[in-house]
Amino acid sequence: MNGIHDMGGMHGFGRVEREPEEPVFHAEWEGRVLGVSRACSAQKIFNIDESRHAIERMPPEDYLASSYYERHLDRNVRLLVEKGVITREELERRMAVLAQGRDPAPSHEDPSLIARMLRALTARPSYRQPGPPPHFSPGDHVITRRDAPRGHTRLPRYARGKHGLIHRVHGCYIFPDANAHGEGEQSHPLYSIRFEAVELWGVSAEQRACVHLDLWERYLEAAPPAPTPGRSQT
């Protein structure tokens, strides 16, 4: 979708401000949001692509007004409601009860959940899966799709309809555009693709710069090599 989250190349946000000696979390609730999110993933309540798409579906004015962990909280509530795990009324009621100082939830222990959550910090992720052989090889020229899908995609707007060079074949990985919409874990070839800055930004491009993106084969078409002098360095 052409969402507010798709920020690559936008102007107007200003300097990158850094915080010296930044703590891991700025408030206790941020860590709780992270932990609950990881638990929901470990319980397979939502997958990473549904999770990203839920954040993208925030109204743009809310997205811009929210911090990172607020967006993650919004995502957790949105998906848990959509999947029928909780209701918004239930959440409001629980807030009211907690505000009076008591937590009615009986304590619950789940060592296997802890083990799975900790394993995710050390084990290799499982996004890479067997799939069809790749159509492209390193050195092949491609053009990215020009359409504007309404659903989830990992092809940013700034790189649509652009000419690039296959740098590396990563293997087959779960296709987010389908997995975000309950269409299952379809595995498709994924590539690292090099785009020259001048191809992406025209005369505004910095010299001797390029951007690499990891893009699925479904986003790509074969292209003739280097159609303009600006791209001849590839």
Binding site: V16, A27, G35, E70, I86, L91, L98, H108, A209, C210
Partner: protein
């Protein structure tokens, strides 16, 4: 840890007061505990893993090993995930990109905030900021100059926009004058920012990669 910081930058302005946010977060956790989907000690474990264990010092060990062991460096560049497992790290599908006298690499994620958490900890707020996400791909040299890194136009800049499940780590250049240093001493020079590509490693590092423990 106090929630009462005075933050600069819009990423810390909230739509709701902290007290309401905090209450909503507690209410959500309470409901999920009641439904036996989450346990609070599991949340505690994840929080403490990121606050006390995982951090840039892990990535720094990988970098230092690559500097002192050319065979390891070759394996690291060929298959980052397997090479970090040799040192006991993991949890990530990792690609390592090497800075050289001709090439400077910079890592970003324009669509969200993808980052190699399990190797170098949670990202700093600036990495997740709209400013960095919007600008790193279109004006990397200007952004780098703001970070105090001047990359002349005789050097190629490669920006890695983490658009899939691959995570990127920059292998910085080993600073000159460190020939006599041990692997452990070298690791202490390597900063988080150098592994993202917004800093160079200095012979005497001002900011250790190891997280500050004083606040814990």
């Amino acid at each position: 840890m106090s929630g009462n910081h005075d933050h600069e930058g819009h990423d810390h302005h909230h739509r709701e007061p902290e007290s309401v946010l905090s209450l909503r977060v507690r209410a959500l956790e309470s409901l999920l505990v009641e439904k036996k989907l989450v346990s609070s000690d599991a949340v505690d474990r994840i929080v403490s893993a990121y606050e006390q264990d995982i951090g840039p010092h892990h990535g720094a060990k990988v970098v230092a090993r690559a500097w002192v062991d050319p065979a390891y460096k070759e394996r690291l560049l060929a298959d980052g995930s397997a090479a970090i497992e040799e040192l006991g790290f993991g949890g990530v599908d990792l690609k390592v990109v090497e800075n050289t006298p001709q090439v400077h690499n910079l890592v970003t994620c324009t669509l969200c905030s993808c980052y190699p958490h399990s190797l170098i900890g949670l990202p700093p707020t600036w990495y997740k900021s709209f400013e960095y996400r919007s600008r790193a791909v279109i004006e990397p040299r200007v952004v780098l100059r703001e970070f105090g890194v001047d990359v002349p136009e005789t050097i190629d800049i490669r920006v890695w926009d983490s658009s899939a499940e691959m995570r990127y780590l920059v292998l910085p250049q080993r600073p000159p004058g460190t020939e006599g240093m041990s692997e452990t001493e070298l690791a202490q020079l390597v900063t988080r920012d150098a592994m993202i590509g917004v800093a160079l490693v200095q012979r005497t590092s001002g900011t250790p990669a190891r997280p500050e423990r004083a606040a814990l």
